[in-house]
């Protein structure tokens, strides 16, 4: 068998798996709603700067500050006369980017720790899992706040802090799956023909824990977006960047609550809730697709 043929087979297999995945997934209305909301926000994040005239982001004199919605400014203005709608649209880009980048870091750490721990077992496992437990038990928000405060406010630091504190749950899940995968015959066969540890972990274990990683990513993403909002709100964000969390931070510290400026406080929060909710919905749907036991039970 030549390698081109193998590639073609792999491709066909992928295509078949994907289409069977989709045929189950699309029956799940929750998953579909989540996907649609997320797509809308993704479009907003990508097209944002082209949709919004950048001039309405700039200060617009003193007559228009903290103004309720008008026909010109659909969501009103903030204390500097900036358009809230423009802020929400532009903010989607950085908010989503921070969430996704932090999720990526968290997933890489969680997957590596989980697979290595499960694969090697014994001392390695005991040490890594002890370490994982420490991260599981430490209250996450104080830890993130302390780290963010020490590193200083910047987007990179926020991403790093969220990523480095949120991998423990993933590591535990991946580890238990690895424990069951490594006992399967093909792993033994690979070892018999002389495959190294790294090769086995990468080519035999990783593909088999992948569905789990996939489902978990979505849930971690929801947590990461919430974390970014909370850290920014508590003053740990980058003041030069527009994110939903930073908008809420400025609104709160400028006294939007006592002004009753709902148009300033509600839109960024609603965006966060919608994005988190859509990730959660997709997570539930994926769980049902990837976990046939759950599917049968609901019928």
């Amino acid at each position: 068998m030549n390698s081109a043929l193998v590639k073609k087979d792999t491709f066909a297999l992928w295509k078949k798996n994907l289409s069977s995945f989709w045929s189950i997934y699309r029956q799940n209305s929750m998953g579909l709603i989540g996907m649609v909301i997320l797509l809308i926000f993704a479009l907003m994040a990508i097209l944002g700067p082209y949709l919004v005239d950048i001039t309405i982001m700039t200060v617009d004199g003193v007559t228009q500050v903290i103004h309720p919605p008008t026909s010109e400014y659909w969501l009103g203005t903030d204390d500097l006369g900036k358009d809230i709608l423009a802020g929400v649209i532009v903010g989607s880009r950085v908010s989503l980017m921070v969430g996704l980048a932090a999720t990526a870091i968290s997933m890489v750490i969680g997957t590596v720790v989980g697979i290595v721990s499960g694969f090697y077992g014994r001392v390695v496992d005991a040490l890594l899992m002890r370490f994982t437990d420490v991260f599981l038990v430490i209250p996450w928000l104080p830890l993130m706040l302390v780290m963010a405060a020490l590193l200083g406010p910047s987007l990179g630091n926020i991403i790093f802090v969220i990523g480095i504190t949120s991998w423990a749950g993933t590591a535990r899940i991946i580890r238990s799956q690895t424990l069951s995968v490594k006992e399967r015959p093909y792993v033994e066969r690979a070892r018999a023909i002389g495959s190294g540890d790294t090769h086995i972990m990468f080519y035999h274990i990783l593909p088999n824990v992948f569905p789990l990683i996939f489902a978990n990513t979505v849930l971690v993403a929801a947590v990461a977006i919430l974390s970014e909002t909370t850290l920014s709100f508590l003053g740990m964000g980058d003041p030069t960047q527009v994110t939903w969390g930073m908008m809420l931070h400025f609104a709160f510290s400028m006294g939007a609550v006592s002004f009753g400026a709902w148009w300033w406080l509600l839109p960024p929060g609603i965006c966060v809730v919608l994005v988190v909710l859509s990730f959660t919905f997709i997570g539930y749907a994926l769980d049902e697709v990837l976990n046939p036991k759950l599917r049968r039970r609901d019928q």
């Binding site: 002890r130 104080p142 909370t230 709100f233 003053g235 740990m236 809420l248 809730v273």
Partner: protein
């Protein structure tokens, strides 16, 4: 494994975790960029001579290992350092604010467990109906909301628009009340919004876990046996299903503690509640590192301790774990 062995193992595990946290807490505040002396002095024009004297005074000229040893020694004698901002021992500042936070967290936790378990039972009993679907959706939405944002909305509705409750705080210091009753109602008015907000935040998870746990239990064989024996619906729920279904709730309380701590930071910030959460926020904004460090350590130890207790309680409650 017998109870004593189990206790010992859990205790050693918790101790190791605490030691790692102490270690992390020390080095986190030292390996981070920036010279601690610069943060301490806040005067960029200080002479090299004076700098050296301060360095000596705070033991910063010693090696890292010696510094760690001094830190440990001080820690065990209850010395967490002195606040940059308040110029008082960190321990005293923290302890002063414990009661307010315990009051808030305690009330909200008890309320959310009672209401959450109740709703969970109702939803499980009526699964698939409109009540169940609406209830689940609301729980899910509440769960997706940033805590501080819910707090802000509550303040806007009840304190700004309707002005039924105060904006925040814990009552005016030095106010004279006509009677004990007047004092109590005033205190309750201040407590109401933060407590209700916290309860709303916490309740979702209890509802979800109680519902799924009860549904799980109702599928067990012993439930069928009980029904076959002629146990009526009421007793079936109260005597057979609930005690078993409550077990995950116990674990959730412990797991949730980290979440609760995170929640209290946000809620106390929005409501200006004079507890540990607000202390953390002010320490963050003032870059008051000793307070931040001490607070982080004490909160973490409290959470680890609570987890340890929950482990033991769980084992005591669930005889199946013992074997």
């Amino acid at each position: 494994m017998n109870m004593r062995g189990y206790l010992l193992r859990k205790f050693i595990q918790a101790s190791i975790t605490i030691f790692i946290v102490v270690f992390m807490n020390f080095f986190l505040f030292r390996i981070m960029p920036g010279d601690p002396i610069r943060v301490l002095i806040r005067n960029p024009k200080i002479s090299a001579d004076a700098l050296e004297r301060v360095r000596e005074q705070f033991g910063l000229n010693e090696s890292r290992l010696v510094q760690f040893w001094i830190y440990l020694r001080d820690l065990f004698s209850g010395d967490l350092g002195t606040s940059f901002n308040y110029r008082q021992p960190v321990w005293d500042i923290v302890m002063e604010r414990v009661p307010a936070t315990v009051l808030l967290i305690g009330t909200a936790t008890v309320l959310s467990i009672i209401i959450g378990v109740l709703l969970g039972v109702i939803f499980a009993w009526k699964r698939g109906t409109r009540v169940d679907i609406v209830g689940l959706s609301v729980s899910l939405v509440l769960y997706s909301m940033p805590t501080f944002w819910v707090a802000i909305i509550m303040v806007m509705i009840f304190a700004v628009y309707w002005q039924i409750f105060p904006l925040g705080g814990m009552g005016m210091p030095g106010t004279f009340y006509a009677s004990a009753w007047a004092e109590l109602t005033s205190q309750l008015r201040y407590m109401f919004l933060p407590t209700i907000t916290f309860t709303l935040i916490l309740i979702g998870e209890y509802v979800l876990i109680m519902r799924s746990s009860l549904l799980e239990v109702m599928r067990e064989d012993y439930m069928l046996t009980a029904r076959a024996k002629g146990v009526n619906n009421r007793n079936l729920l109260l005597k057979h299903a609930l005690p078993n279904a409550m077990l995950p709730v116990v674990t959730l309380i412990a797991i949730n503690l980290g979440f609760i701590v995170g929640g209290t930071i946000q809620i106390e910030t929005v409501f200006s509640w004079p507890g540990l959460g607000r202390l953390m926020y002010t320490a963050l904004t003032n870059r008051d590192y000793p307070v931040l460090q001490g607070l982080f350590l004490l909160i973490t130890i409290a959470v680890i301790g609570a987890n340890f207790c929950a482990d033991i309680l769980y084992r005591y409650l669930d005889p199946r774990v013992k074997s």
